[in-house]
Symmetry: C2
């Protein structure tokens, strides 16, 4: 597959063409579409659908609306490739960064104020946009500065309570400096917004909350421009509902082309790259339209550059552990036996492995939308009413957004199963809003809650079985979503034994204790490296993140130093759980423990480079323990 991008000079040419402002901005947006296609295709991941629905708007704002001191940010955040395409085209970001989307020291999967100049605030955790805008404006007013803030939101994002929480106070303070533009593309992660959790009459709602509301066509810049102008002298904060099409500008990505209005249909282009054929079709369609626009503007057709092929990103070919799929399959199996089992989802049916459950048990599946607090409290009541709810989202969101609601449920003495996928450092592409490395700490002190992280499909199924059939209280199941190769064939696991794990390899000199496939694979690789230096290291998979059987671990270690590996901040993770257990059950072993884990905000990048950057790949792990194992030389 040949990848093409538009060079800076071409972008400059388009941006400075004389002629109709709207036509020129639309051409600029299409030019950016080409570079978005390039960026996402090059790295193999990224959110095309939401980027394309909003790209005309983002282009117009940057070319024609924003002035010095004004701020623009996207609250939804996953349309970051579009922002990057615009900022690189404008020279506000180094143009060469277009080759580095979702790569280490490149452009993170979601906007990161600490990583990228020109980014206004870090987003990717949904629903925070209006609150942040208010903070900016109040700060500016206090500092005697005058400025405007433009915030782009998704429409699925509006299911988050914080959005509504933030509307009233913003209106009450009369913060007319704020314009919120809703990218009303009608499709969220899984499918049509109105099939997930209808947001209803948005105009009426915005008006009831005291905002000046207007609607426009978000792909028609004349419509957008006149709508923004019409609101200019409004003294209330402004809510612009921009009707768009997800994937807008590439016909086969638009929902009307392939997404039936059924309950089970799933949108195809929320995240991920295109097939080579689709990529070619998309480029062709955009180029054709762009050239038409340029012709109308009196410009020459575009010339694209053949990209250097990206450096090879190695992919293991051996059998990979697919935990989310195993989880979903096992949950359905359990549901067939256990009629009380119901599943709740927050617009991540595909990502949480629930497609089969939804199909087999439609009455027992509750799609809640991006409304985690609502979902969790609802599940709590279902548990009180005699059901066994299993609640799903990404670990980063599930452990934090409804944190108080999970505790409230736990204090009621009922049982709810929480399954958090996308746990840990990888995938590294999406960036730190999605790299869940704080969930164990955030939920670790919920009384009576078991926290389990399986490393293999076998252990995953056993975890579901234990959660459904044996656990007396609530359970948090932490799942790495990336299919991951272990480097060995995992043993079958019949049944989990509370507090104990599986001895995968015995070793005289050192014992690795790890949870989840990424860290177990890292430990396994480290043992191979250490073996070259005559060091025999053992590996234990420890699925219990809390309630570890310290005596058992100490017995397995048999006097050797113990090294815990955390796919989580080293504070509050598995290591602290093992340490606490050892201190209680086998104090001497506690004095021989070393914790290894994440110790800074996760970097965004390709999986292996992210692990390497955090010194959590197998080779780095071996290096980090060589003093314990009496390896004298540098590994």
């Amino acid at each position: 597959m040949t990848l093409l991008y538009m060079p800076k000079a071409e972008l400059d040419r388009i941006r400075t063409l004389d002629g109709d402002r709207q036509e020129r901005a639309a051409a600029f947006a299409d030019a950016c579409r080409l570079n978005v296609l390039y960026m996402v295709q090059r790295v193999g991941s990224g959110h095309l659908g939401t980027t394309f629905s909003s790209l005309d708007i983002v282009s117009w704002l940057h070319l024609e609306v924003l002035r010095g001191g004004d701020r623009y940010f996207s609250s939804k955040g996953h349309d970051a490739p579009g922002l990057y395409a615009v900022l690189t085209a404008l020279g506000r970001l180094d143009f060469e960064l277009i080759h580095q989307l979702r790569r280490l020291n490149g452009l993170p999967g979601h906007p990161d104020v600490a990583a990228t100049p020109e980014v206004v605030t870090s987003t990717g955790s949904l629903g925070m946009g209006v609150s942040k805008a208010r903070g900016f404006v109040l700060a500016d007013r206090l500092a005697g500065r005058s400025s405007r803030v433009y915030v782009l939101t998704g429409d699925g994002e509006l299911q988050e309570g914080q959005f509504w929480e933030s509307l009233g106070p913003t209106a009450k303070r009369g913060l007319h400096e704020i314009t919120v533009i809703v990218d009303r593309n009608q499709v969220q992660s899984d499918t049509w917004v109105d099939k997930v959790s209808d947001i209803g009459d948005l105009e009426a709602k915005g008006g009831a909350f005291g905002w000046a509301v207007a609607s426009c066509d978000g792909h028609d810049l004349r419509s957008l421009a006149s709508t923004l102008e019409g609101l200019e002298h409004e003294q209330r904060p402004k809510l612009v509902i921009a009707r768009t099409r997800k994937g807008g500008g590439v016909s086969f990505m638009e929902p009307e082309s392939h997404l039936p209005r059924t309950d089970t249909a799933l949108y195809n282009y929320h995240v991920g790259a295109l097939s080579p054929e689709e990529y070619e079709r998309a480029v062709e369609e955009v180029c054709e339209r762009l050239n038409d626009r340029l012709m109308r503007l009196g410009g020459d057709p575009v010339e694209l550059v053949d990209a250097e092929p990206p450096e090879h990103i190695s992919a293991a070919v051996e059998h990979r552990q697919r935990l989310v799929a195993a989880y979903g399959d096992e949950l359905s199996k359990q549901a067939a036996r256990e009629p009380r089992l119901v599943a709740l989802d927050a617009d991540l049916r595909k990502d949480c492995g629930l497609v089969e459950f939804r199909e087999r048990f439609p009455d027992r599946f509750f799609e809640c939308g991006i409304a985690e607090q609502d979902m969790v409290s609802q599940a709590g009541a279902m548990a009180l009413a005699g059901f066994l709810p299993a609640v799903h989202s990404f670990a980063c969101f599930l452990s934090t957004r409804p944190n108080e609601q999970i505790y409230n449920n736990a204090t009621e003495g009922t049982k709810v199963v929480y399954a958090g996928s996308l746990a840990g450092l990888v995938p590294g592409g999406p960036g730190h809003s999605h790299q869940s490395v704080r969930d164990i700490s955030a939920l670790g002190a919920v009384p009576g809650m078991a926290l389990i992280e399986p490393f293999s499909e076998f252990e995953c199924r056993a975890a579901v079985d234990w959660a459904v059939n044996r656990s007396p209280g609530p359970v948090y199941i932490r799942l790495v979503s990336v299919a991951w190769a272990l480097g060995f064939e995992p043993p079958a696991v019949e049944q989990l034994v509370p507090g104990r794990g599986t001895v995968l390899r015995r070793g005289r000199d050192l014992l690795f204790v790890a949870a989840g496939p990424v860290m177990v694979a890292g430990a396994w690789r480290a043992t191979a490296v250490l073996a070259e230096y005559g060091v025999e290291a053992g590996v234990v998979s420890m699925p219990w993140l809390r309630g570890v059987d310290g005596s058992w671990v100490a017995e397995v270690a048999d006097g050797a130093p113990i090294v815990t590996l955390d796919n989580h901040y080293v504070t509050g993770g598995l290591g602290d759980g093992v340490l606490a257990a050892l201190a209680a059950d086998a104090p001497d072993a506690a004095a021989r423990l070393r914790k290894i884990g994440v110790d800074e905000v996760p970097k965004s990048g390709e999986n292996n480079e992210v692990l390497r950057a955090h010194h959590l790949d197998g080779d780095s792990i071996a290096e980090r323990v060589r003093d314990l194992a009496d390896v004298p030389m540098q590994i």
Copy 2:
């Protein structure tokens, strides 16, 4: 002061009088008001204002509306004394429990499904009501049961985003079984709702979210009854806005009697007992009205019973540490020097010590209402814009509701100070929704965040100074709100030294490491008990809950066993912070550590009895360490 209550027989008499249903229910409500006054006055705490605004409604529902299978619960929860008065009057709870409000094994300060029969769900964490109602109804539908759910909410409570998050999905599913009654008493914790964070046109908002909305006078049962009847056949979920008066039914407690419509006025009767004179006036007023009602119903005047005086609850008379006051005073001092310092509050201006700040720096004080997520994201943007925001709420809410928002701010590399008051087991009256014993764990892995808990006013001021002037990153300051006697005069603290604490007493045999006044006082008392057995125990105040200097602690311990004391779940608290530090810096000392802390959901009760029940009073602590200190006999 003589306390009076209405005995069960009198309540039965009133409840079964023939005559007008509304008049009878109003009489019953007034009878319950008398017992609420008794309950709150007896224990010295409780929420009278919100109980009285809703008590006519709660009485009507229980007498005339609810049928078998129906559920009623209050989402706001702090009106629990009213619910208890009604349920004891109806014989659904043991009548003798009216003598045990907020006492151990009695009636918790907020409804607790695990502690009290007839309670439907545990509330006290705001905004969860509609979500829970939906869970109940969906579960019932799935189980083939038919039932209705009546939910009472506050009006200040509607500032929480979860309320709005839950409205849409409930309407979309057509859950007509749900009736939400808003106790629109216009006053929240601090003051008028519209002065805190106006909720605007609630009718319009409810309608925009697809609910059937109606309004009524919540103290006029004819109005309430006809409104409920009018909605009976509605196929949408129902939102009844009941106009009430906070403290309704006792004239001097009603806001119009004493609360000017200014920005600084504070409502007097949100929480706490009355003065003896006020109590007498209140009883007199309610009795007079009640007797009028009874006369109209053809009944005799009421006869009240003189209560046995409550058992003496000891109160130390020595100097108590008032951390919240010291915090607030120091924050104002710092603000006078540091113009970037701004304060944000979530309707707890009094409770978070911000009255002075608000008065001295009105432009730099931002009242956010009960909207913690909105508050925290807003603060994050203010920090990005160059200010130093200090964010306030109760620890139980601040550490959990905006947990994801706090992390988002932290990843932006800015500095925000979070001050969580009401931390720990005491006051024990409000119950576990308010007893924050999980906040250290919930925030403990936020990267770069310092967590500090001062034990004395000196240390508290030093903590504020450190947070404002020296900390490079975000800081969480954990504050016990109860004025607490230490048992000794605390030393002056000039400046905090990161990771290190203050040696309050040296001891050869054992070292207590504790944070906060309650645990330091407990350690101090335990040393006295142990001294009687010849054991010399030392005490260190360790304000750093994370980032402890393990070498320093080990040096102070000098080979003796170390005992950490946690006013927090033993998992994830100070003890785990100390253990991690020792394991890293002084492994031998790690093997000599014992962690003592909370190990079950906090009990509600009087402060000392709660500490005793959790074995965290000084005497229990001494008992729990006697094996370490070679004390052979039972202490």
